[in-house]
């Protein structure tokens, strides 16, 4: 329905998108960009990007599509101004990257594709609750406290679980022969 509004170039399209998925998009972006002005700017950019890409694109699922654009835009912004690092705040993505040993060798398309396959394999082997916790922290960028609260567990328990999940991911990568 929302996609149809975009295809009709209706002005209500963005409002409908904001109303349905705005809260999730905001939580993704704020998780990566704690600075309110940065986050608002990024959110506006994301709606603009969706307006410009749909059509011609017609995503199968609108929420992941929207959040992917938002997540990439927020990471680009964080990377460019290093605001998060200057504030001494470790980004969730860095927390995960640091937990998985491996050189800083230049990225390659093959590496990313293989890693994506293995991450999906790892997620398929996780229990539902662990998978949700992992993705809320490392994909949706939620703080440990927020992710823990949303799952009804303590932040301390979430930290322990995330530590074990990072370790499990590392073992999966090693077992499957991914060069760490």
């Amino acid at each position: 329905m929302i996609l149809d509004l975009f295809y009709e170039r209706s002005e209500q399209a963005v409002d409908a998108l904001k109303e349905k998925y705005g809260g999730v998009l905001r939580s993704v972006i704020v998780g990566i960009l704690p600075d309110k002005r940065d986050a608002e700017e990024c959110i506006s950019d994301v709606y603009f990007a969706v307006w410009n890409t749909v059509p011609p694109q017609r995503p199968k699922a609108l929420l992941p599509f929207l959040c992917r654009i938002g997540r990439n835009a927020a990471l680009d912004k964080a990377r460019s101004n290093f605001a998060a690092k200057r504030n001494g705040r470790l980004l969730a993505i860095d927390e995960l990257a640091e937990a998985i040993p491996g050189g800083d060798s230049p990225e390659s398309e093959t590496d990313a594709r293989e890693l994506a396959r293995l991450i999906n394999l790892f997620l398929s082997r996780c229990g539902e609750r662990d998978r949700i916790l992992f993705l809320r922290r490392y994909w949706y960028g939620q703080s440990v406290e927020t992710a823990a609260r949303s799952l009804g567990i303590s932040a301390n328990a979430a930290c322990v679980r995330l530590h074990r999940l990072r370790e499990k991911l590392r073992k999966t990568l090693k077992k499957e022969g991914y060069s760490l």
Partner: protein, 307 residues
């Protein structure tokens, strides 16, 4: 790990998982909480009072639940008596993995509520506490497995207690009957407990007339002490949930310890533990199985499952 490779890889995470993990603002998450039909869960109250737990600390144990991959098998090689070994393996249909310390406090439980008027008392009038409770008549010597006792008015229900430390090298399988087809699994939390409610269909291998039966499981996991209570039966989920919410437990003061050389379970039960996991049957020979002792409960041994 190169950060950019990781970011790009994460962009390819399966959309189904992303939708499942979407924060609460998204209205169509797959997990749902059942409505709270009873006020203060007596189980939690009982924990606080009977066990002296003043606050729920961070969970020491973790539990994962997943559906087995096609072809995935688990098995054990067990020694019935010196020199006599046997191997049993099962399809890994629904797999519960546990992680945590190597010991758990032993507990007993008693159902404080049942849907019929049956007094669960000892001969001296004191409350009866259980490690395993069943409304089924399991008098195997007469071949009456699954026969209903008249006392329970046709309500099937079994409750058992297990411990996360028992499954350190393996998994707890939902493999009582073959096959178990899971049609719905719902996760929620009760204070201090993680709850998996599973709606399944099963074939009873011992009863030709019991095929495709509807079956309900409530797996209750307490991360603090690694206690697992399993409430299962053919009664509707609401009835089982009411029973589960009003279970009372108490510690015996004994400890259940993980040991790679021992294996104690009631053979007829929902879970067969401490299995050596095999990814795919063709990849590993049975020699990879761990040799463990199977302690058969007193009394006649139940018939061997036909698989």
């Amino acid at each position: 790990m190169n950060r950019n490779v990781l970011i790009r890889a994460l962009n390819e995470v399966d959309e189904e998982y992303l939708l499942q993990a979407a924060p609460e603002e998204f209205p169509a998450g797959r997990s749902k909480a059942l409505p709270r039909r009873w006020a203060m869960p007596p189980l939690a109250a009982c924990l606080v009072l009977a066990l002296g737990i003043s606050a729920m600390a961070a969970g020491l144990f973790t539990m994962g639940l997943r559906q087995g991959e096609p072809g995935e098998k688990m098995g054990i090689e067990f020694t019935l008596r010196p020199g006599v070994t046997d191997t049993v393996e099962w399809d890994a249909k629904l797999v519960m993995d546990f992680d945590g310390p190597e010991e758990c406090p032993e507990v007993l439980f008693r159902p404080a509520w049942l849907p019929y008027d049956t007094r669960l008392l000892n001969d001296d009038g004191s409350d009866k506490w259980f490690r395993y409770f069943s409304t089924e008549n399991t008098d195997l010597s007469e071949g009456r497995l699954d026969a209903q006792s008249d006392d329970y008015q046709g309500v099937t229900c079994q409750i058992g207690v297990k411990y996360a430390c028992q499954y350190k090298d393996g998994a707890l399988l939902l493999s009582y009957s073959d096959p178990v087809k899971v049609s719905e699994a719902v996760w929620e939390e009760w204070p201090g407990w993680e709850i998996h409610e599973i709606h399944a269909h099963r074939d009873n291998p011992w009863r030709e007339d019991h095929r495709g039966e509807e079956y309900f499981y409530i797996i209750m996991f307490q991360p603090e002490d690694g206690i697992i209570l399993i409430v299962r039966g053919q009664s509707d989920m609401e009835t089982l949930e009411h029973i589960a919410r009003e279970l009372q437990i108490q510690k015996t003061g004994e400890t259940v310890r993980y040991s790679p050389d021992s294996f104690t379970t009631q053979f007829i039960d929902v879970g067969i533990g401490k299995q050596q996991r095999r990814e795919h049957p063709s990849k590993e020979a049975p020699a990879a199985f761990q040799t463990i002792w199977l302690t058969v409960p007193a009394g006649p041994r139940p018939p061997r499952p036909p698989w």
